[in-house]
């Protein structure tokens, strides 16, 4: 949607319907497809984890490494999973034109997301003392999978802050224009859900054997 | 006509090739039969498709042909799905039977040959025998022999078209296949998994021979190499042991025990030098030793600084190792 469409275009009957909720928008489908391909990416990573684990046989984690502890990952989960709620609340708000809800919701999510990343950093600081990405295949899997997810959180947070900055300007988002909010929200929910899969794979599954 | 031509070409023109259609053992024979079944089915279905196409081209091109707007779905489903399904189910069953037959290896007492793939040659040992050779393995005619496959580096694939389909050599794992030959003879085999620069020259020979000859081969494999007989050979042995050669090559009973290159204890009797790169004769042997890189570019034996005077002795010595 371009800014130079001109007044005539912008005030025509067609433009009035822009982003009004008649069916799914192209942007929505685009984001859903993007998320689908990203989800497949994670599925391949997680599949690789289990493949290497079961082909390896023997104790897992191998080479006498200790199984990951659960306290911090559960805390991380407690921080990340609920961070979707403010996004939902914010999105509902902007649909009714309540910009304050958008701003507040995004800000809360931002705080939760950053907290999560800080927790990841402390987790790494601890793990790196025991093994690194080059120690063995387990180490490679551990850091690459969690790191790739962390990178996705970072991208999600960039989107959230970007929305937040844009929402500070009057007239950017409103009851009839919030496609971008919805799309970023989809992405953020995705990043959350994937974490659940990673929690299971990396932290819970070694205990189930 | 095309079918017949192909059939003839396939049976007739193989011209001494290690052809999968000229099987000499139980494994390859199974597959050859399967092939002919598949071939004739394909010929029949192809003829059907061509007949329909020709019909259309001949009769549906004239200007006065009236376009018909029907939807002959039954024809499409029967010809395109129904008939093929029947054929495929039958063929699948035959294929499974043959796969099972390929899995039907030798009993526990059969000889076990241990083959290790290297870039780009084959190390050959026999279980229970303390000795090694390269690029050539012997089997007794009419018996199933187990072959245990490992690789020292990258993936390779063990293939003797006239005896047995392929089995890949997987890094970090051990695979097994078996060989069986109905008639005596030499069968060419070759690495069939791309393994880098000299994948092209990673051939080997399977020699199927009567049991006594096979036992003699086993015995040779377990005993020290033939000592030098002439002066030249003795000088050659000196050069070999004092030069760089012994660092990479082993010759049983001489103290040379390098493991980087092939064991040379019987190099004089091999069918080739460099896993099929060149024939095994004096000239090629000399060329190989002086600079194998011109013979088999990229292989892992560096050019050797051998004095011009020493080379004939070395050749004489190596050729005497039979």
């Amino acid at each position: 949607m371009n800014a130079r469409g001109g007044i005539a275009a912008a005030t025509s009957t067609e433009a009035l319907t822009t982003e009004q909720p008649v069916g799914r928008s192209a942007g929505w489908w685009g984001m859903v497809m993007f998320v689908a391909t990203e989800a497949t990416l994670f599925a391949c990573l997680i599949g690789s984890y289990f493949y290497l684990r079961f082909q390896h046989g023997g104790p897992w984690p191998p080479d006498g490494l200790t199984a990951p502890t659960l306290a911090r990952p559960l805390l991380m989960t407690a921080v990340l999973l609920p961070s979707s709620l403010p996004v939902v609340w914010a999105e509902r708000g902007i649909r009714r034109g309540q910009r304050w809800r958008l701003r507040t919701g995004l800000a809360v999510t931002l705080v939760l997301g950053v907290t999560f990343l800080i927790l990841v950093a402390t987790e790494y600081a601890e793990k790196l003392r025991e093994f690194t990405i080059t120690t063995n295949a387990y180490g490679s899997l551990f850091y690459v999978i969690t790191g790739f997810h962390g990178f996705h959180v970072l991208v999600g947070l960039t989107m959230i802050s970007w929305l937040l900055v844009a929402s500070l300007r009057r007239g950017t988002f409103g009851a009839h224009r919030h496609d971008r909010v919805r799309n970023a929200a989809i992405y953020w929910h995705f990043v959350d859900v994937v974490w659940a899969a990673i929690l299971f794979t990396i932290y819970l599954s070694p205990r189930l054997s | 006509m095309v079918a017949l031509g192909t059939g003839l070409a396939l049976t007739g023109c193989a011209g001494g090739a290690p052809s999968a259609l000229d099987p000499a053992g139980a494994g390859a024979a199974r597959v050859a039969n399967l092939w002919w079944l598949l071939f004739w089915i394909s010929v029949a279905v192809f003829a059907e498709v061509m007949a329909l196409l020709t019909w259309a081209l001949v009769f549906r091109r004239k200007r006065r042909v009236r376009v018909r707007h029907g939807q002959p779905l039954r024809f499409v489903v029967v010809a395109g799905a129904g008939i093929p399904l029947v054929i495929l189910v039958a063929v699948y069953a035959v294929g499974l039977r043959d796969l099972a037959a390929l899995g039907d290896g030798p009993g526990p007492d059969a000889p076990t040959i241990e083959v290790t793939g290297h870039k780009w040659w084959w190390e050959v040992r026999v279980q229970g025998v303390d000795g090694a050779t390269a690029n050539e393995l012997h089997i007794p005619v009419g018996e199933k022999v187990r072959v245990r496959l490992r690789t020292a580096d990258v993936l390779h694939s063990f293939w003797v078209p006239q005896l047995m389909p392929k089995t890949d050599l997987i890094a970090g794992e051990t695979r097994e296949t078996w060989l069986h030959a109905e008639r005596a003879g030499s069968y060419r085999g070759q690495c069939a998994e791309y393994c880098g620069t000299q994948h092209a020259h990673m051939a080997f020979l399977v020699v199927a021979e009567p049991r006594p000859d096979f036992d003699a081969w086993l015995a040779r494999l377990g005993t020290p190499a033939r000592p030098p007989q002439t002066d030249a050979q003795r000088r050659g042995q000196q050069a070999f042991l004092q030069g760089s050669c012994a660092g990479c090559h082993a010759i049983r009973g001489t103290g040379a025990d390098g493991r980087i290159g092939p064991d040379l204890s019987d190099v004089g009797s091999r069918w080739s030098i460099g896993a099929g790169a060149v024939p095994n004769d004096g000239g090629h042997l000399g060329g190989w030793i002086a600079n194998s890189q011109t013979v088999k570019p990229g292989n892992y034996m560096p050019p050797q600084q051998v004095g011009a005077g020493q080379l004939p002795d070395l050749i004489a010595y190596l050729q005497s190792l039979k």
Binding site: M1, N2, A9, E14, A15, L16, Q20, G23, S25, M33, A36, T40, C44, S48, L52, D63, G97, I133, T134, T135, N136, A137, S140, W162, R169 | T6, L10, C13, G16, A17, S19, V31, L38, V45, V49, A56, L57, R60, R66, V67, V76, V77, A81, L88, L96, D98, L99, L155, W159, K166, D168, A171, G172, E173, R188, A192, E193, Y194, G196, G298
Partner: protein
């Protein structure tokens, strides 16, 4: 260029002028770099992919020349290994898919009656990424640093300790880079076909070609990630010492193969599916009737797309996996031939009921049927594990995949070149020259690849830079080589034909063939806005049906002219009911900038200039941020109060 004059009673002169003003791009250097017109982008895809085809084809000729005689020393093994790897990689990744996506780009909006793709800027971006990724990979060849591990790059051969140097880094990074373009284009195709169809084009009126593109795009979405993960892991193994594929440290070499073929098998259908779509699009015009069994064909495409994800292990039949798994994958590979059979017989039935007009495009379609069916048969043979173990990695496999790739993709692509040349360039090709090209190509093709079945069975392994004299493979190889020259001459004639048409061809009417889909009811070449009046679609063959045709002329309504902005229509996913009008983006340099930043990023990774890579990543992020920045439009402007 084209001649429609005032033959559009639907749109008034003022409307046309306004549309022209909104959509036309004045020719300038800037507009060359900033265009978002799907037709220009589609054309570029076609030309660029053709360029990569010629490079890959010339590599093949060099290989064939080397293999003409035994013990040939023309090429060193190092050269040969790079050539065959680049040949395979480029044909698959830089030619087949992009070429077909080029046709998709040009045709999908025209066929569904839209004015552009759903995301025009993303489309432009995809093209630039494709171009840069292709150049990135080919640029390594003159330096002798091209990928040399075969197109499926099996580990551990491709690990750092076995292949030092840049070779395989070019491969992993190049394919990751290219993957961005393929994914972007696929998302764009899906969304375009779901949301931008002309009103009235319900799912059962979508042209088969568009169905094929959509099925392909879905396969890309779910298959490509496996390749990306594989390549990312290989890159990390090589550069940063991870151990995914290192059995000494808990890794596994077969993981590479599984992931590669989970992508690789669907990929061969990704290549063939749009080509089959082309066949379904070309046939109606030359048989004067629709393809028999529309719903069956759509069903066949959907089932191929789904089953293709369950057969990958048939590329690993010699690796020694458990027999049970072989039984399963062998059955799945057998089953997947059924939908292909349905399509083949649907086309045969179409030809048997219609009236054939034997023009060059139809010739290529017939060439396709003959060749593809033969390739399909050998595929069905491989599905039997026992047989495959004998012929895998021999020239028999090389014969199979050239029969299906050339038969299944190149023949249809050439049919498409001739069929849509008038639409794309506005010029007619030279029929006789086209026939010569066809016969040379057809003969050369079979002469080259048919003997490969034979010497494959005679025991010749693939990927050997030379072979000895004794096994008697020499004669047949000579035949192959001679055939490949013939084939090249045929292709040269195709090239000459295209150049001749563009330079001297007769101007093409809007509908030279009497085609059935919507692209034939607009100018040749189409105006920048595609349709002066967006059609109201009433049937599967809108150009053959009066109601749909007059909806663009006498029956035109204002809400389908949309001349007040740069607009097109959005409709519902299933029924094609109109939902609203959208404003389309204008030309922009952002796509080029973003692609350039990515080029810098990947080049920096290649040469291990990591700070530069970080800088480039920041440029990427900020370009995207600016690109998507919401335009300022106060609610008052929208006529609503906040």
């Amino acid at each position: 260029m084209s001649t429609t004059a005032a033959s559009t009673p639907g749109a008034s002169r003022e409307d046309l002028a306004r549309l022209e003003e909104r959509w036309a791009e004045r020719p300038s250097l800037r507009s060359w770099f900033s265009t978002v017109d799907h037709k220009r982008i589609g054309r570029r895809y076609l030309v660029t992919a053709a360029l990569f085809f010629v490079l890959a084809g010339l590599s093949a000729l060099a290989m064939r020349t080397q293999l003409a005689r035994p013990e040939s020393r023309l090429l060193s093994p190092q050269e040969y290994n790079q050539l065959f790897t680049m040949h395979g990689t480029a044909m698959i990744f830089l030619f087949a898919t992009p070429m077909l996506f080029g046709f998709g780009n040009f045709l999908v909006p025209l066929m569904i009656g839209s004015r552009d793709m759903a995301f025009p800027k993303l489309n432009a971006f995809g093209y630039w990424v494709f171009l840069f990724a292709g150049l990135f990979m080919w640029a390594s060849l003159p330096f002798g640093a091209a990928p040399n591990g075969g197109w499926f790059a099996y580990v551990p051969l491709t690990e750092e300790r076995n292949t030092p140097g840049l070779h395989m880094d070019v491969y992993t990074l190049g394919l990751l880079f290219l993957g961005i373009a393929t994914t972007a284009a696929s998302i764009n195709f899906i969304v375009t076909s779901l949301k931008l169809r002309a009103p009235g084009m319900s799912l059962n009126r979508v042209p088969l070609f568009v169905w094929a593109i959509v099925a392909t795009a879905f396969m890309v979405i779910f298959a490509l990630p496996a390749l990306n993960v594989d390549n990312a892991m290989l890159f990390l193994d090589r550069r940063f010492g991870t151990h995914f594929f290192d059995p000494e440290h808990g890794g596994n070499v077969l993981l590479w193969q599984h992931l590669f073929w989970i992508f690789g098998h669907p990929d061969v259908y990704i290549i063939v599916m749009p080509a089959l779509g082309i066949v379904s699009a070309v046939l109606p015009a030359f048989t004067r009737r629709g393809v028999v069994g529309y719903a069956l064909v759509v069903f066949a495409m959907a089932s191929i797309a789904i089953i293709s994800f369950g057969v990958w292990v048939h590329h690993m039949f010699a690796t020694g996996l458990p027999p049970l798994s072989y039984g399963f994958f062998s059955a799945a590979s057998t089953i997947i031939t059924i939908p292909s059979g349905i399509q083949i017989f649907a086309w045969l039935a179409t030809m048997l009921l219609g009236r054939l007009v034997l023009k060059v495009p139809l010739l290529f379609v017939i060439g396709f049927i003959v060749t593809f069916v033969l390739g399909g048969f050998t595929g069905a043979m491989f599905a039997l594990t026992a047989f495959d173990q004998q012929v895998t990695d021999s020239y028999f496999v090389v014969a199979h995949f050239h029969y299906v790739l050339i038969g299944g993709a190149l023949f249809p692509i050439l049919a498409a070149v001739y069929y849509w040349l008038p639409k794309i360039t506005g010029r007619m090709y030279h029929e006789k020259l086209g026939r010569w090209a066809f016969w040379l190509f057809f003969t050369g093709m079979h002469l080259t690849f048919f003997p490969m079945h034979l010497y494959g069975l005679f025991g010749m392994p693939r990927r050997v830079y030379t072979y000895p004299d004794e096994p008697g493979w020499g004669g047949w190889n000579l035949v192959s080589t001679a055939g490949s020259y013939l084939l090249a001459i045929g292709l040269l004639l195709v090239l000459i034909g295209v150049i001749h048409a563009v330079r001297r061809g007769r101007p093409a009417p809007p509908d030279p063939w009497g085609g059935d889909s919507l692209e034939w009811s607009t100018d040749s070449p189409p105006k920048p806005y595609n349709f002066p009046v967006l059609p109201q679609v009433h049937s599967l063959h809108p150009t053959w049906d009066d109601a749909s045709r007059t909806s663009m002329t006498e029956g035109a309504t204002d809400d389908r002219i949309l001349a007040r902005g740069r607009q097109t229509l959005v409709t519902s996913e299933l029924d094609g009911r109109r939902e609203r009008t959208v404003e389309m983006p204008e030309a922009s340099l952002q796509p080029l900038l973003l692609a350039l930043a990515l080029l810098v990023f990947f080049t920096a990774l290649l040469f291990a200039w990591y700070p530069v890579a970080v800088g480039a990543a920041l440029v990427v992020a900020s370009t995207i941020a600016v690109w998507l920045w919401p335009p300022r439009r106060p609610d008052q402007e929208l006529g609503v109060s906040a």
